[in-house]
Amino acid sequence: MPSLSLFLSQLFNGLASGLLLALISTGLTIIYGTLGVVNFAHGALFVVGAYAGYTVYGMTHSFVIAIVAGALVSLVVGLIIERGLVRLFYGRPPEDQILVTFGVAIILVEIVRGIFGGVSLSVPTPVWGHGIAHIGTLIYPLYRLQVLFISAGTLLVLYFVLYRTSLGLIVRAGIEDSLMVNILGINVKRIFLVVFGLGAMAAGYAGVIDAPIVTLAPDMGFRVLVDSFVVVVIGGVGSFPGAIVGGIIAGEILSLTSMFDPAYSDVMLFVVMALVLILRPQGIMGQEGRE
């Protein structure tokens, strides 16, 4: 049996990576909820943000500027994708939307590979993240603890935007009934653009924050994409609370099961997803009847 301190530290790890996953999945889920498009380029936008952050961090040596830069670059890339391509696909079948965003994912990843090469890069932990935190008897890497708080804080901001602002009200109304929102004379096109940009930004932002914990490689985006799919399938597609619940569940599964055998932790994640599909196909927080 693993010791209590190991268990606690893994519990923290799970929460930290779970909240980060929740943040990534939130981007995916608000885009789907509002636009009805599953963005298969979501993982690629994560990569774009991470590499943009890496570059700016190298130039300015400020991680905060790197985070801002990563978020902005992925925001701009997201806006370009929506304007240039995704917009043409709103009236087309979901399969076409999936295919085109998947094509965009390949292009983005290959551009990153072309610029930075295919080798793995590591991003140093920011200076303010060095050291170890003492939580009671538990010793824990400071940066991971900070990631936990940064993710939680950002999710709180997103919650505020979604539930306390007029933009958020429209987005949530759009999730319920986009036709109705259209009828009410709201400029849905502009809203779609903003939401797609926001979703892309969430991915890029998370990419920079995650960078010091993992090693960067152009292909990492596909793993991120898979994980965020698992999160939204568990939590319920198009549901903001679902993304958070799903993210935490996924993070904890990956983290806690790796205490016993890391090789099995990924498999366990999919086993849980299978269970959700059997017992509650619409996801934990998903609504009946939404496809």
Partner: protein, 613 residues
């Protein structure tokens, strides 16, 4: 009767098979001149075989899976493992690999098909990744983990006393080509079978396919398993061909490559994936050798792919077929005259009315209620339809007519209350089972299979009647279905579309689509029909025609019609039920309803005092 389209000679019908055989034979003599060698051709065939199954799944049934690598890898590793360790023969190993992949397909299909559309794409992608992790963890001692399985022996086939050793190069090409060809013939048969017709219906309009009496989930699972089997066989052949089974067979890249090749080549053409694989692998090899570009080959491919998806939705193959068939298509000689009434040349079979309880009404609702959260759409409506009756249901907008209808047809579960069909309770058994019992509905908004012809559309309900809700008759020809043509032609004639029978539905004018909508319900052979605003959107002339049609089909059928057109309603119906704010307001003969003060008030908006906010 003109059935030119049906009476093609067997030779003509099998022309594609002939061409593919010729292509496979001639290929080795021609393609090396443009730099396609035996290894490349073999690889293309393996991907083409993999793609045949995927095209059945995606191109024909419309199910976009991003997890096909799971089956490719499973078949490949099982085959390679058996060949390197066991004493089984080549063919046995390939067979076992294919079967194991198919069984895997049952499990993954059962899980992922619980949801459709985007959920399906996402969950297949995730389960595909699961297999990559399984290969590297649980099954590592069998699969070699990251090393894969090396030393897969070259194929040998024992023919009686002689043993055939197949070396790499052209012999290997021939070996794989045989599998591809068999796979192609089987896929062709599936596409042309009644089973295949249902698959196309599922792709075109899954909701209507369900409503016309097909258990679409079983069809989907079956085709998913077929695609898995194709993947397994292709994976097995890959290991044999390379003498090595690589672990990256399980990666997302493999699934993605298959999707991209299929879309590039043209989905729904069977040979599209083969064409796409040729483009992909040829580009890959070609671009690799160009200095400065080699590293960007995948970027170039990605750009080409996005352009293809945006501009040509049917891929290169689809574009070729379109230009080819446009040249051949004769100018449409459609006469726009209103069609002549049918003379009963061939009559449409109707399901015999068998009541489980003597004297029970044909259709009965007992206090049915539908509640959405706080909103009560239909409240405690009791309704009874007698044999042979034509009942009208009217009510102002928002009265709950459509919800009421959907509950009668089994499309919508009731919150409270029961529905009975000829004395048998049908509450909650679902629209497919209701249709199989002999009740069908035509929709307010056309629910047709737009990319199919009128004949193919009408076939879908007839197939459900003749074959039941599910039958895996994937290797039989359509002509083996008893009386299919007669039923289809009778139904088409009944709604006056005989002159359009081989036209694409997407090319029909609205009025004719409206009649086909009714024709689909009729073709189910239902003896109880529900019509949801059959006159919606029709001009005066078409209205007269549809009213006449509704009158003409009354013999042997009981009908319920929801309609806004009061004149038509009073002319058609013997009795009328009035719904208002989810409740039954009145019921009686047209004259009684006309005289009813409550009804008048409801229509004049005089009941405001009862309206809740």
């Amino acid at each position: 009767m003109n059935t030119a389209a049906r009476s093609t000679s067997p030779l003509r019908r099998h022309l594609p098979e002939l061409y593919v055989a010729l292509g496979l034979i001639i290929g080795p003599f021609v393609l090396p001149y443009i730099g396609i060698n035996s290894d490349l051709m073999t690889r293309v065939l393996i991907w083409g075989l993999f793609g045949l199954g995927f095209d059945l799944l995606f191109g024909y049934t419309g199910l976009l899976s991003f997890g096909q690598a799971a089956f490719f890898g499973t078949g490949g590793f099982v085959t390679a493992y058996l060949l390197t360790t066991g004493s089984v023969s080549m063919l046995e190993a390939l067979l076992v690999g294919t079967v194991v992949a198919a069984i895997t397909g049952i499990v993954i299909g059962y899980l992922t098909l619980r949801r459709t559309g985007i959920y399906f794409a996402m969950s297949t992608l995730a389960f595909g990744e699961m297999f990559f992790f399984l290969e590297n963890s649980v099954f590592k001692s069998y699969t070699g983990g990251e090393n894969g399985i090396a030393g897969v022996p070259p194929p040998t086939i024992s023919l009686g006393s002689t043993v055939l050793h197949i070396s790499s190069g052209w012999p290997m090409y021939c070996f794989v080509a045989v599998f591809f060809y068999i796979g192609y013939i089987i896929a062709r048969r599936i596409v042309r079978s009644p089973f295949g017709a249902v698959l196309k219906a599922i792709r075109g309009n899954p909701k209507r396919a369900i409503a016309l009496g097909h258990a679409t989930n079983r069809y989907k699972l079956t085709v998913f398993v077929i695609a898995a089997a194709y993947g397994g066989l292709a994976g097995g052949l890959l290991g044999v061909f390379q003498a090595y089974m690589p672990p990256d067979a399980f990666t997302l890249d493999t699934s993605a490559q298959l999707v991209i090749q299929t879309v590039m080549g043209g989905a729904g053409t069977l040979l599209g994936p083969l064409l796409g694989a040729t483009i992909w692998l040829y580009l890959y090899e070609g671009l690799q050798n160009i200095a400065g570009i080699g590293a960007y080959w995948k970027l170039i491919l990605g750009v080409v792919f996005v352009i293809l998806v945006t501009v040509f939705s049917h891929g290169v193959g689809g574009a070729l077929i379109q230009t080819f068939s446009r040249k051949r298509a004769s100018p449409a000689d459609a006469d726009d005259d209103l069609p002549v009434e049918s003379h009963g040349a061939s009559s449409l079979d109707i399901v015999p009315a068998t009541s489980s309880a003597a004297g029970a009404p044909v259709l009965e609702a007992r206090g049915i209620t539908k509640q959405y959260g706080g909103l009560i759409a239909v409240s405690d409506v009791t309704f009874s339809l007698a044999e042979g009756e034509l009942r009208g249901v009217i009510g102002p907008n928002g009265a709950g007519k459509s919800t009421f209808f959907a509950m009668l047809a089994g499309e919508l579960a009731t919150t409270h209350g029961q529905v009975f069909f000829r004395g048998q309770e049908i509450t909650g058994i679902g629209v497919t089972a209701v249709c199989q019992l002999g009740m069908s509905k035509s929709y307010q908004i056309n629910q047709l299979f737009e990319s199919l012809t009128v004949r193919q559309n009408t076939m879908i309900p007839v197939l459900a009647r003749r074959r039941g809700s599910f039958r895996p008759d994937m290797l039989r020809g359509l002509h083996h279905v008893q009386g299919l043509d007669a039923q289809v032609e009778a139904a088409v004639q009944l709604v006056g579309l005989s002159h359009r029978i081989d036209s694409l539905v997407s090319e029909l004018p609205y009025g004719e689509k409206r009649r086909l909508e009714i024709g689909l319900a009729l073709a189910t052979g239902a003896n109880v029909l529900l019509f949801d605003e059959p006159l919606a959107g029709l001009g005066p002339e078409e209205r007269v025609h549809v009213v006449a049609l509704l009158k003409s089909i009354r013999k042997g059928r009981s009908m319920v019609v929801v309609e806004h057109d009061m004149d038509a309603m009073f002319e058609l119906a013997e009795r009328i039920t009035v719904l208002y704010e989810g409740r039954k307001l009145a019921e009686g003969t047209p004259d009684e309803i006309r005289a009813d003060s409550a009804v008048q008030a409801a229509y004049l908006g005089g009941m405001d005092e009862h309206e809740s906010a």
